[in-house]
Amino acid sequence: MNSSKTQFAELQQTDELEQTWKEPKGFLGSLAVVGHKEIGKRYIVTAFIFLLLGGLEALLMRLQLAFPENTFLDPGRYNQIFTTHGTTMMFLFAVPVMEGMGIYLVPLMVGTRNVAFPRLNAFGYWMYLAGGLFLYAGTFFHALPDAGWFAYPPLSGPQFSPGKGVDVWAQMITFTEVSALCVAVELIVTILRMRAPGMTLNRIPMFCWSMLVQSFMIIFAMPAVMIASSVMLLNDRTIGTHFVNPAEGGDPLLYQHIFWFFGHPEVYIIFLPALGMVSSMIETFSRRHLFGYPALVLALVANGFLAFGLWVHHMFATGLPQVGEAYFTAASMMIAITSGVQIFCWLATLCTGRLRTTTALHFVFGFIFIFVLGGLTGVMVASIPFDLQAHDTYFVVAHFHYVLIGGALFPLFGGFHYWFPKFTGRLMDERLGKCSFWILFVGFNLTFFPMHFLGLGGMPRRVYTYSAGMGWELPNLLATVGALTIAVGGIVFIANVMRSRRHGEIADPNPWEGASLEWEAASPPKSYNFPRLPAVDNLWPAWDDISKRTVIEGLSDDRREILITSLNAAEPHHRHTLPKPSIWPFVTTLGLGIGLTGSVIAFSWYYVAAALGAIGFIGWFWPRRPLEFTS
């Protein structure tokens, strides 16, 4: 009797919510989008396109190295390709894709409707896209960087790298790091102040913890690389500041210190979110509470701190004093403890759970296999004497691909299968998924396992060719065959995505019986995520009877209102209205993009960047009456 009335009221309410939160339509509308799901998706799709480009570059390198003294690529082209490969994978794929996953999932997991600063979020995405386009535009202007993704001076300096390639590289960093900082601020505030009432610090899902730690790391690490590349290196090149030019009294080691102060944490910035994904998937597919939640959280936080204490292990061969070296050996090895504790907790969970071996869990197993191997070689290279042999050889190439592909890409692929129904409302095909997993797993090991021996057998990194008769032929050929296998695995994965998003099995809100809040939202989630914001009283809300969910009443439906809660206890604090879509973040990026692109040609373009940027920001923050928050 009353139920039809209630249903009608609910429909009316969700209708109004939809009106309030829906994304603008049309071309201009698509430039004004500020919703976290749309922007998260854009990050993920863009990053996957860059993954394809970076993978293609890797294939080209492997084809060149398949045979000794091969002439498939000339040295100049090879150097451009390995530089662009590293740069793409680090700056344009790995970090942004993790941020995209965070932007999409975190608001759903903490039970809110958008990230804290939606327009800043849009701005971050546009800056990232601009940076990526800027780097690849270099292809058409003979301006691809060729001094390595680390661009050590003096090789990257004006004397030894004439041309615009290194300038483009250095300024590309500015774009992507601004973007990373935007996301970091977003996620920190979202996680700390926008959680569902009752989601105290010890009830935050592991993935959100990992994004929180990662975001803090970004805030400390990214400014370092901007100082190294955009300030010191770029100014040395364009206006002769001589920060790092030894010919004029500058110090090339200063650059290395600052670069690796960023560069090492960068690895953890990439793979901490992946650890969060692994925790989520293991919990769901073991169908039991994650063992050792406090230990896992503390390990993540410790990881975040330790990551800043070991940058010198990239510089063991530079001849630093021994006492310092001993410290850095200890710090580098200690980080194995935090990773070890996490592995032990996961194994404990897996051993006592009731496993459901989905494709996602396959990728988790693949992750454990590969990542443990990469971690162990990590302990090996942390030892200075050993590192003096392994450094800058294929041993290190093997090591960090084990850590990054095993530690980040496999969990990401697993996570992609796991959250795909949430993103699209359809399940990915399990058979194709397992097929792609096995091809990728075999291909990966075939490519990178022989490289351990190549490195110890004397083959340095970043060589465009090698002489015959060194005993390097067979492992190199195997690696090339492996790389082609990986490509096949990638094609199967893409085919699966393409097919499943149109024809996949329709997914209900919680197809895997996951525990966290995102599984309470519809699949795909409505623009407002939850019709009524949920309140929670434990770490596994979706495992409760969700028909008895306590919800928050009293938020306006006719404007973009969300609930701000307290930092520790997540007690309701006040209501807050988020801004509506706006084209200004895009316009600001356009202005800054024009100016920063020009700065590669002449310093005076910075003034253009400042002026156009200022116009954008003024438009962005122009006060409107009546207050635009009310619709």
Partner: protein, 339 residues
């Protein structure tokens, strides 16, 4: 992976006993690192097998359908199981901490043993300067008359420590002879030192290990370890000025060299050629390779290198010097005669 075992063993053997391999040490430094590596490798294998074994157990239990507790309602195993897990996980963490602590100690001790501070007395001092893309080598001596300058080839006596004082003339390079020691970066405006020693005679290949531009791949050199007597003989020979050409063809070759752009970059002691940008050629004919370890030093290779250096090693700094017809053969004969 299992199917690859045979080829793996094959290439392992191939690499392990190569002329540029960290797995086949020929001196105390590389030997100590090799022992450390074996230790690290052994521990890693044990840990890896343990982890993968546990993973296999998790899967095996599922296959066999062993379920200790129904998890449907609580999603949590019994308190007893959780307590057991806690004990296991904490002890494993404690054990890893101990293992890592031990590794740190071993690593630091090995580091001390191979550091420059552990240098025994009576060492030979060799200054190595990295250049794009070749190595300049100077044997230092208190008596300036006894300083030897050569390139891309370092002769050392067996059983005697040799101090390498490394720096760079342009960008950062890295000095690496894996059979003898790990790497040391050669950084412009700095001098880095390390010591190496060969305990047995042999030819050991070294290669630049820090990316240094277009021809990073072709920046190799050879360390030739000889018994002390043989080394002394080599040294005496290197101390001589360049051999005067004895026949008319070589004499003509010398004139070709001195009258062309060659002299702008190369030095030949005993002649007017005193260029500093390229390798010293005083005893060029006695070296085993040309173009920084790129090709064996034969007349044919040398001819190809001089007539078209950019094809042999694209991007290198040696220009193609146009020679008058008929000048090439005498020049080659002259250079190969510089024993």
């Amino acid at each position: 992976m299992r199917r690859c075992t045979l080829p793996f063993l094959f290439f392992l053997a191939n690499i392990a006993f190569g002329q540029q391999s960290a797995l086949d040490p020929a001196g105390p430094q590389a030997g100590r690192i090799r022992s450390l590596e074996s230790l690290l490798f052994g521990i890693s294998v044990v840990i890896f097998v343990g982890v993968i074994g546990t993973l296999a157990v998790a899967l095996f239990r599922r296959r066999r359908g062993i379920q200790q507790e129904p998890l449907e309602s609580t999603h949590r195993p019994s308190a007893q199981t959780e307590r057991k897990l806690l004990v296991v996980v904490s002890s494993l963490s404690a054990v890893s901490l101990l293992i890592l602590f031990a590794l740190i100690v071993v690593s630091v001790v090995t580091g001390r043993e191979i550091s420059i501070k552990s240098l025994p007395r009576d060492s030979l001092v060799v200054e190595v300067t990295g250049n794009q893309w070749w190595w300049s080598v100077r044997y230092l001596d208190d008596n300036t008359q006894r300083i030897i300058v050569t390139a891309n080839e370092i002769h050392i006596p067996t059983g005697r420590p040799v101090v390498i004082k490394g720096t760079s003339h342009d960008v950062i390079h890295s000095f690496w002879v894996p059979n003898l020691h790990g790497k040391r970066d050669l950084i412009p405006s700095r001098v880095n030192t390390e010591w190496i020693q060969a305990d047995r005679p042999g030819r050991f290949r070294g290669q630049c290990a820090e990316f240094c531009g277009l021809q990073h791949a072709h920046m190799a050199f050879w360390v030739i370890a000889e018994p002390p007597a043989q080394f002394e003989a080599w040294r005496r020979q290197q101390l001589q000025p360049a051999a005067e050409p004895s026949d008319p063809v070589r004499l003509r070759g010398q004139q070709v060299f001195l009258n062309n752009a060659c002299v702008l970059c190369h030095t030949i002691q005993g002649t007017t050629a005193a260029g500093q940008n390229g390798p010293d050629l005083t005893h060029f004919g006695s070296r085993q390779t040309i173009a920084a370890g790129t090709l064996p030093n034969t007349i044919g290779n040398l001819g190809g290198w001089i007539t078209d250096p950019q094809t042999v090693k694209p991007g290198n700094h040696m220009p193609q010097v146009p020679l008058a017809p008929g000048d090439e053969q005498p020049l080659l004969a002259y250079l190969e005669g510089l024993k």
